[in-house]
């Protein structure tokens, strides 16, 4: 298993390897970063606000004189954690509905697909803004809002895959054998769409990272005292005029995370054939 993954990683093009490295780096930061933080997240440790890079503060200090590196390590956990959970929820829901539609026949498929088509024609940022205005933005709600926003996209991809697979001979054989719909969906169809679904999961993750940090940047996402990377950009926006590291560092952090995932997905084998 591990040898297989290693050989896959070796086969990636250079840009894909770079993407893989970035993704692994940010996963490690999200998991262990807060343990490595040199200062407590909320502590005022520098004498000056918007300090530049120094030995004591590798990424300088923020608008209140807190250590940017420590806040970034903790913010990355919010960004990666929230987005990963929301992307999993969106993919699981979208795929479950898609499988239901694929094995359920036209009576299930038609209304469900119409409904999803309707939701997909609301631009995602606009949709999430309406949801935030209606429900507010606590952490669980943000997770839910991000997931709801990206269910239709996943549904569309998964349904196309599942409907094709449901026509295959081996699925017809399983039907003739008298297998139930649930068995067909889970045991016959699902295993054969895992690879494209994983690539789609990566894309959803990127979209959700951008959406959530965009919301936080607007002050509508993660609320203080919690802070994700988007919040860090927002709270330090007054340092823009002096080109403070406190605003550039978290913005670059988000970009390296999302670009990394994108490059990794693009380098995956089979991606080109499918597109």
């Amino acid at each position: 298993m591990i040898a297989h993954i290693l050989s896959q990683a070796k086969a990636l093009p250079l840009s894909g390897k770079l993407g893989l490295a970035l993704v692994l780096f940010w996963l490690a930061v999200a998991l262990f970063g807060p343990m490595l933080a040199p200062y407590p997240v909320g502590a005022f440790v520098a004498y000056d606000v918007f300090d530049g890079q120094s030995a004591a503060h590798w990424l300088g200090s923020d608008y209140l004189g807190r250590d940017v590196l420590s806040r970034l390590l903790s913010g990355a956990r919010y960004t990666v954690g929230l987005a990963a959970a929301a992307a999993m929820l969106a993919s699981a829901t979208g795929t479950a509905l898609a499988l239901t539609a694929a094995v359920g026949g036209a009576k299930v498929d038609e209304p469900l697909s119409r409904f999803m088509d309707m939701l997909i024609s609301i631009p995602s940022k606009i949709f999430s803004l309406v949801l935030v205005a209606a429900f507010g933005s606590s952490l669980p709600l943000l997770l839910l809002i991000a997931a709801i926003t990206y269910v239709p996209g996943n549904y569309r991809i998964a349904r196309a895959l599942a409907v094709n697979l449901a026509q295959m001979d081996y699925v017809q054989v399983a039907r003739a054998r008298g297998e139930g719909r649930f068995h067909i969906a889970i045991a016959e169809v699902l295993p054969n769409m895992i690879h494209p679904l994983l690539a789609d999961f990566g894309l959803r993750f990127v979209f959700i990272v951008l959406l959530l940090s965009g919301l936080s940047f607007l002050g509508l996402g993660v609320q203080p005292p919690d802070a994700d990377l988007g919040s860090l950009v927002r709270e330090n926006i007054s340092g823009l005029g002096e080109g403070a590291l406190a605003i550039i560092a978290p913005a670059v952090a988000i970009a390296t995370l999302t670009v990394g995932v994108n490059l990794l997905i693009d380098g995956l084998p089979g991606r080109g054939k499918r597109a």
């Binding site: 840009s15 631009p123 605003i247 970009a255």
Partner: protein
């Protein structure tokens, strides 16, 4: 004979376009139901919100009646929808003036920003897309692929931040806040909106260039291109005389689809540069929970999105004789 065939083809295409148009309208109607329902889910209602925690139940009930909130939901939906259609989507709770007044002040600014961005983005994206398609598999193509792939995933505020750092902090060429008012001359206006346009363009160009490249490459794989190459037509001529006439419709399709990225991008860009457009108005409406204003803004964005999708669909129909024949 041929004339008759093309005429019936044209008629079929028109029917198909009519169907697409009707289905877009239906979708927009369903979207309005969805947005209305979500807006109604607000915990506590607008009357409670307006009066605050200290209001007596009687006061709340009186205001609810005055605002018509005690009517059944479908009646409120019907009156909201007829209001929207006739250009009067209600009263903004925060600005205390008609939503239509607030929006008509902001909408032209956003449309102008979008038009200027398209003016900048389309030629650049065309050049990048066609350039990398001609160089398919080459070093330039791979470099542009990685560059556009990365740009697609970069958050808008990073692009905006870097633009401000370069042009207004280091070079001091441009103001860091976009000003737009009726009194400004064109020169001042353009200086003011240069950075919002730049930021939005970067986001749209990446998307558009990728789709243009895909559209051109799709044509390059066709037999007629091979024929042209085999008979010795110069590569530039192949692209300009043979591929482009056939690729124009897919490219317009790609343009319309990627211009829809403007809608999401504008939300961030208008806010960061303080540009008085519709998207920043909508963000304010979310912050102040001004639901009538928010619903109207959301509907405008959805309508714009559906319009772009419709344009993309229609060009695809007009371009594809097989689709047209059906």
């Amino acid at each position: 004979m041929a004339g008759g065939a093309s005429q019936s083809g044209m008629k079929a295409a028109l029917t198909l376009i009519g169907k697409r148009f009707a289905s877009s309208l239906l979708t927009l109607l369903l979207v309005s139901v969805t947005i209305f329902i979500i807006a109604q889910l607000l915990p506590g209602d607008a009357a409670q919100e307006a009066l605050g925690q200290s209001a007596t139940p009687q006061q709340v009930a009186a205001l609810r009646h005055e605002m018509g909130l005690d009517r059944p939901a479908y009646v409120r939906y019907a009156s909201w929808l007829t209001g929207m259609v006739s250009g009067d989507p209600g009263q903004s709770l925060v600005a205390n003036m008609p939503v239509s007044d607030v929006i008509s002040e902001r909408l032209p600014n956003s449309l102008l920003l979008a038009a200027l961005t398209a003016l900048v983005a389309v030629p650049v994206a065309l050049a990048i897309g066609i350039g990398s398609a001609m160089n398919r598999g080459g070093r330039l193509d791979r470099a542009l692929n990685v560059a556009t792939l990365s740009m697609v995933a970069v958050p808008e505020f990073l692009v905006a931040t870097i633009a401000v750092l370069i042009f207004s902090v280091k070079l001091r060429w441009l103001p860091s806040i976009a000003m737009a008012s009726q009194e400004m001359g064109w020169g001042d206006y353009l200086r003011g909106v240069a950075m919002p346009i730049l930021t939005l363009s970067v986001i749209v160009i990446a998307q558009m260039a990728r789709m243009t490249r895909a559209a051109v490459i799709d044509q390059m794989d066709r037999p007629y291109v091979e024929m042209a190459v085999l008979k010795g037509v110069a590569p530039v001529q192949v692209v300009l005389r043979h591929i482009m006439p056939n690729a124009i419709a897919p490219i317009v399709n790609a343009m319309a689809l990627s211009l829809s990225y403007l809608l999401g991008g504008a939300v961030i860009v208008e806010t960061i540069f303080n540009y008085p457009g519709l998207a920043s108005l909508m963000v304010n409406a979310v912050t102040s929970r001004d639901m009538p204003l928010l619903q109207a803004c959301a509907m405008i964005f959805c309508a714009a999105y559906l319009l772009l999708m419709l344009i993309a669909d229609v060009t695809a129909i007009l371009a594809n004789p097989r689709l047209r024949a059906q």
